[in-house]
Amino acid sequence: MNKPLRRIAIFCGILVLALLIRDNWLQYVRADELSSHKYNRRVQIERYAHERGDIIVDGKAVTGSVETKDSDFKFKRVWKDGPLWAPVTGYSSQAFDSSQLENLEDGILTGNDDQLFFDRTLSMFTGDKKTGGNIVTTLNGAAQKAAFKGLGGKKGAVVALDPQTGAILALASTPSYDPSVFAGNSLKDSDARQKLLKDEDKPMLNRALRETYPPGSTFKVVTAAAALENGLYDDIDEKTNSPLPWTLPQSTMPLKNEGNIPCENASLREALRWSCNTVFGKMSDDLGNEKMIEQTDKFGFNKEVFMPVRADASIYPKDNRPQNAMAGIGQASNRTTPLQMAMVASAIANDGKLMQPYMVAERQAPNLDVIYTHKKEQLSQPLSGENAQKVQQMMETVVKNGTGTNARISGVTVGGKTGTAQHGLNNSEKPYAWFISYAKTGNGSPVAVAVVVEDGQANRDDISGGGLAAPIARDVMKAVIDSK
């Protein structure tokens, strides 16, 4: 009986061997796949087991972490003044994932990023409690507050940039929301989120980055830049070839101006001062669709912008002649984000150099060592320094004695452009009020701003870039200059 016994011994050995092999397959070969599987709750548990790093503005954290008791997620994200900072930080919820900086910088904020490897290893030996690193933003608290205060109860967005570096100084979108209300994973959080999602005013939409509007007359600045760059006109005070009335090409429809303004053969400076549709419409037509697209591309149109949060692409499309003429005055199929118009203003203010916009100045390890510092980077040169200064002069005239007088700041040179974009079929809905501007001090321009107010409540006749949007831009610029 011993021979079969020996075989049974081998058989039992094979059974154990099979288990050992299977175990190696499971715990060695497939370990990574299983441990990071989307259904594996441990990933989430680990994620919230430590205090999340903070997002910092002006040296102070605008976020925080609180300990929770009601679930296996130990720490919950909280925001100080959530609605004010939500357009910058995004949200980070135990149940509903995260967005914007909270999402993109998650590795640093949770402390799991590979860049923190040595830090983590070190704290493993020293026994320090694991925490996340910090993200230092470029934002200016005073400017952000001024933007929100200016927008108040109205729907709209403000973007302020530092033209010389591309740093985002203010990023406001109203109505806003408090990400703290759904940061946990209870039923209450879910209800709060549902309420936000169902809100008709779309408080979770980041209007500064993810909504495209017709830019209206503010776009005339781009058309003017294209005219100068392509040599259509050289002197901003020479008379242009602009008949009045002017009929749209391939059409019998005359392009109208707002009111009875001196636009016939007006110089560039005067045309911008009065915001002549006929002058810029014809200019766009004279340049042609291709050259206009070329110019807008240089300003950053037609592709998404990452700073590092993604902003939708602003569109200046291929189009037929009448549409191209209309796009030249910021109507028709021309659509931009507020960020894009701020980039236009900043490129002009920075003597033609467009800097890559960014909002993360530094990344810090949990021990506050700086592991990344942003280096400023030029994105493109949409226009020559000389031409940029010409457009500056035109924009400064607008603020000095044109449609943008509401943006004046005493003792500071301000250039700007108003816009009132028609909206809806046959201009049936209330128009958007736009204002783009920059301020200039002794050494270059510290701030460029774009403001859009999509106000559904104001009296139609009151809606104008100069009336509604310019004061907001002024307050934001003033806040930046005062904080220097």
Binding site: L19, Q27, R41
Partner: protein, 466 residues
């Protein structure tokens, strides 16, 4: 001359009993278990658990008393089996105690802390182990009870049918005040006794008086009939009780013992063919089985819709999250498995918290028990002892394979407990008894033959005078 001289080949010097080796190993096993217990306490509460002394003393007492019993009643028994059982039982207690602290499990209405109960059951198991050593002077006595064992096994198997099903299987009998017993665990031992007794008598008839059929030797019906009937009945009962693991176990044990008894390879072929037919048959009409097979084939596919798949997926993620070295005792989240985390799925906790290294150690411990059992069978001098030892250790091996393989997704999950490790009274008690019987057989096998009486003849012929 007072010195006894001897010329026979069997020495009069005592064969080494290895009892001291066993004692050292038991001490080691207790030490490791107490260390694990302390580890859990430190990880979960940051301090040495208050019950550590009591737990350590309890386990040391169990191991010590068992060792003394072996020393006294089975002097030549295998020295490894008792320490292995003590170690597994002790680590099992630490693991169960660790899961007792899980807040997630405590929120479950069906969950109750099980460590203290398990300690009591372990004590009962060791008591039964000692009982076996004392009462069973010679394992061959069991031969007398061949047919009684058959009846007893059938009774044990039929009993749960009269009790309500728990968790989809009718494998428990509930005794008011005492709790539930899983008679299948005991039936495993009893049926091994029956098989050994019957096969020992009939092995020649089965092996030799057979007809050739398609190149295989098939025995006569009157030889195979009774055993086939008992086996078929137990399988049928288990299928009706939906206790798949145990039916697989019985079937495997039957094939192994039949093969060893008859030494005919055709039995393996025959057995595998039957089991394949049986498996397909059962799977085609049993929804319970179909669920398990679906969960096995695609554990992540049924997420959110299919409880069995979801649990299987949780187990796999538990193993994966443990990785090579594990999270450390008390620091994993194997309690996410929720239902049956401390019974059928206790290996997932081992996998997650002790990692691949710990799992391999555990599998090798089980492998060692099995191979010591097979060695006992090899050493046994009587066919009954051989059959009983191989039956018990084969059953043990199959049980380990079915449970661990099921939990690790190697084969469909069938729902049995890991011997000694999982929470559950019947299992611990029955497996201690199993170890007791194996020790008894090995004691008989390794006991040196009694020194022959001094032969005056030998004395005389040795004297050579010049």
């Amino acid at each position: 001359m007072s010195v006894v001289t001897n010329t026979t080949t069997i020495g009069a010097i005592d064969a080494p009993s290895r009892r001291n080796t066993e004692l050292a190993l038991v001490v080691f096993a207790v030490f490791i278990s107490v260390f694990a217990y302390a580890n859990v306490g430190l990880a979960l509460n940051g301090e040495l658990p208050s019950g550590m002394l009591g737990y350590g003393a309890g386990l040391a007492l169990l191991g010590g008393v068992a060792h003394l019993a072996v020393r006294r009643f089975a002097k030549y028994a295998d020295p490894l089996l008792l320490p292995l059982a003590t170690l597994l039982n002790g680590l099992g207690l630490a693991l169960i105690w660790r899961l007792d602290q899980s807040e997630r499990l405590l929120r479950l209405p069906s969950f109750a802390p099980a460590a203290s109960k398990q300690l009591i059951f372990s004590a009962m198991g060791v008591a039964l182990f000692i009982g076996v050593l004392i009462l069973l002077k010679d394992h061959r006595i069991l031969q007398r009870y061949t047919y009684i064992s058959m009846v007893l096994a059938l009774i044990l198997l039929i009993l749960p049918m009269f009790f309500p099903a728990q968790f989809g299987a009718k494998i428990w009998i509930t005794i008011p005040g005492l709790g539930s017993i899983q008679p299948g665990e005991f039936a495993k031992i009893v049926i091994a006794v029956f098989f050994s007794g019957y096969l020992m008598v009939k092995r020649d008839a089965l092996a030799l008086a057979s007809r050739r059929f398609m190149g295989m030797y098939l025995p006569r019906g009157r030889d195979l009939g009774p055993i086939l009937m008992v086996w078929a009945m137990s399988i049928l009962i288990l299928v009706f009780e939906t206790d798949l693991g145990t039916s697989l176990l019985f079937f495997g044990m039957f094939i192994v013992m039949l093969y060893v008894a008859t030494e005919r390879t055709s039995w393996i072929v025959f057995g595998l063919a039957m089991s394949a037919a049986g498996a397909v048959g059962v799977a085609s009409f049993e929804p319970h089985v179909q669920d398990r097979v679906t969960a096995w084939l695609d554990p992540f596919g049924g997420w959110g819709t299919h409880a069995a798949s979801e649990q299987m997926a949780q187990v796999l993620m538990s193993f994966g999250s443990g990785g090579t070295l594990g999270t450390g005792l008390g620091q994993g989240n194997s309690d996410l498995i929720l239902f049956a985390a401390n019974t059928d799925f206790i290996l997932a906790t081992v996998g997650e918290e002790l990692g691949l290294a710990g799992m391999m150690a555990f599998l090798l411990l089980y492998g060692l028990i099995v191979e010591r059992g097979v060695r006992t069978a090899l050493a046994a001098r009587d066919p009954f002892g051989k059959l009983l030892a191989i039956g018990l250790s084969g059953a043990f091996a199959i049980q380990v394979f079915v449970v661990a393989g099921g939990v690790m997704g190697l084969i469909p999950l069938t729902g049995m407990t890991m011997p000694f490790l999982a929470a559950g009274g019947s299992s611990v008690i029955a497996n201690w008894a199993l170890i007791g019987i194996l020790l008894r057989i090995s004691d008989t096998a390794r006991r040196p033959a009694p020194a022959p009486a001094p032969s005056s003849d030998a004395e005389m012929t040795q004297v050579v005078r010049p």
